[in-house]
Symmetry: C2
Subunit: 367 residues, 2 copies
């Protein structure tokens, strides 16, 4: 089903995208302001269901890359992502029929909407991470055979860097990260250009709709004074993200965070309200692992989301601070993200973690 | 005059290029072996005098970039520079009629010959540095209005990075340096694509011939047991590099050298044979300044060359070591490199030096 995304949908989408960002992905509220400005100038955005994209359509995903700690301070000037798209079109000798997120969490739910509004293109309701991940090779697109390059990195002085590493998406990430660092720590990109047939085969479907539904459920729960966790559980149950588990409730006791090698890396420690239990998390932009009293309860690629205890509002890694009262939840990822091929690209070992992946619905019993 | 460069010319050219490298530019002997291999496979290389290049010819210079300390250990696999050329041709939609050095000192006297032999192109007898400089914006091409980008950086895994910074050659250097660092500290490039008319207007003419003549003069002086310095003085007198001054004779007392930010940076100290006089030099890949007993005697862009005292063999910065017996000379650069516009791009202040440029022929009286 084709539908129109309107400016009044954006606050809900931003809230849902912050949750799917699992702490990373960049602050979607900055992106929301960019989309609002673009929609004011160019009108609403048409969203295409992936099933409706023609097999021979040419889809060029767009995104922002960089450390979220940098992205909250270095706001794009606005035309970088469209320039990335246009430069890649010229390089490949073909105009895009649509754009698409590579990542449905954080600011990257919004960047393709800026491009869509500005360039007059529809956006496909799908992505390649099904959440947020810190590196460009961590895409179901690549897992299932779509090369990420040629890709374009675009900076805020009008400069572009076109990278071609053939089928080697890790080398693409390495070179693009270097360019983004030299552009000030964040940049806009166009990559993983593919056919409509490849979208259907390799993308996680309907993750823009999912973000919107999640954000709306959290807002309505707050308006209706309902428990946000049960509202979330209900909205996720019929989706590909069907299991939700509460991992922990308590206060932030300690955050250790550095911007290094172009990433926000660090650890956080949480203590339960009664002081008897401890949660430790580690993150590289996104939260990677949640360990309660020494036992891993949720691990990448399953989602670990930190929410404000009262409001259910998602908290990103760069805004986590001492004393915040939080609920931490785990959410199961779609099966396409849990295959051996997928875990080889974005499973625990890809982040230097020694623990094996274990589905959150197995690691945490139903309460 | 069009002429053929033969394999037997290469040892002399390498020696002359090492001198014009002013301590940097990368070891030309590695490049020489690459050219010999390419000539064995494809035959000799045709050298075009710049006056003979058609105004509407399309010339694409090629080179290596990186820290010389890395370049002596990380030898190119051989096809990177041709790939850089081909990728830039595709990007610009035009085939090259010739290649050209961007730098006549060090390994970059040789890289365009590898490309010329392999791709079956002539090479233009000219360059944009008239010596070696450490950074890509330090080109008379750019000083006189030819943009360096779009340019291509090519690595040894077949990867390419195409950089477009419009007219901003400093930003091009910044992004290309970042790519070269991520490619292992050295990479091959194609840049400053220009017309034959621009070659005539902006290049330093006949610097390949100059390197060959300098290297031959040093060899013949050694064979004839003549003083290498007077042989050099004679061969340079009728060229654009007409003044030669002996700055110092003595031994290497101390070398402080680090590979940092993609460059070889450091200082050296020399003591005269009788122990009464001291020479201090500073370098960023190339030697930048020579101060004898506290007085600057030669400064960039004039050439400072360290030669073995007995043989006159040029010594590069990365092979400078304690106890070497040396003669250090200064050589004047062509007037096109001493204009205010040129000094604004590669004069002393561009390297953080506080001293003003003073021509070596004024700073050191005729003996």
């Amino acid at each position: 089903m084709t539908w129109q995304l309107r400016p009044e949908d954006l606050p809900d989408l931003a809230r849902g995208a912050a949750l799917l960002g699992t702490g990373g992905g960049g602050d979607p509220h900055i992106g929301r302001l960019m989309v609002e400005a673009a929609m004011r100038e160019y009108g609403p955005v048409t969203v295409l269901d992936p099933d409706e994209v023609a097999d021979d359509a040419f889809v060029v995903p767009t995104a922002m890359m960089g450390a979220p700690t940098v992205m909250v301070e270095k706001i794009p000037r606005g035309d970088e992502a469209v320039r990335a798209l246009r430069t890649l079109e010229t390089h490949l000798g073909r105009r895009a029929d649509a754009t698409m997120p590579i990542e449905c969490g954080g600011i990257n739910s919004m960047i393709p909407l800026v491009v869509a509004a500005t360039a007059g293109l529809p956006v496909v309701d799908a992505d390649g991470m099904g959440r947020a991940f810190p590196e460009l090779q961590m895409e179901t697109f690549g897992v299932y055979g779509v090369p990420g390059s040629p890709m374009v990195v675009s900076g805020d002085h009008g400069e572009t860097v076109t990278i071609d590493t053939g089928p080697d998406n890790e080398r693409m990430e390495w070179l693009a990260r270097g360019a983004a660092i030299r552009m000030g720590g964040a940049a806009l990109i166009a990559e993983y250009a593919m056919s409509g047939a490849d979208v259907k085969r390799t993308a996680i479907p309907r993750t823009l709709s999912l973000g919107l539904a999640v954000g709306r459920a959290l807002r309505e729960a707050r308006e209706q004074l309902r428990d946000p966790i049960s509202a979330l559980t209900e909205v996720l149950a019929p989706t590909l993200y069907s299991h939700l588990r509460v991992l922990f409730a308590g206060k932030v006791a300690d955050v250790e965070r550095r911007t290094v090698d172009g990433f926000a890396r660090g650890k956080a420690r949480f203590v339960s309200f009664d002081g008897t239990s401890t949660l430790r998390t580690e993150f590289q932009n996104e939260t990677l692992v949640a360990e309660v009293d020494g036992v891993v309860r949720c691990i990448v690629p399953d989602l670990i989301c930190v929410l404000e205890a009262e409001s259910g509002e998602p908290i990103t890694t760069e805004t986590l601070r001492y004393g915040q009262r939080v609920v931490v939840i785990g959410i199961s990822t779609p099966e396409i993200m849990r295959t051996p091929e997928a875990l080889a690209v974005f499973g625990p070992s890809c982040f230097g973690l020694t623990e094996e992946f274990r589905p959150v619905e197995d690691a945490v019993p139903v309460p």
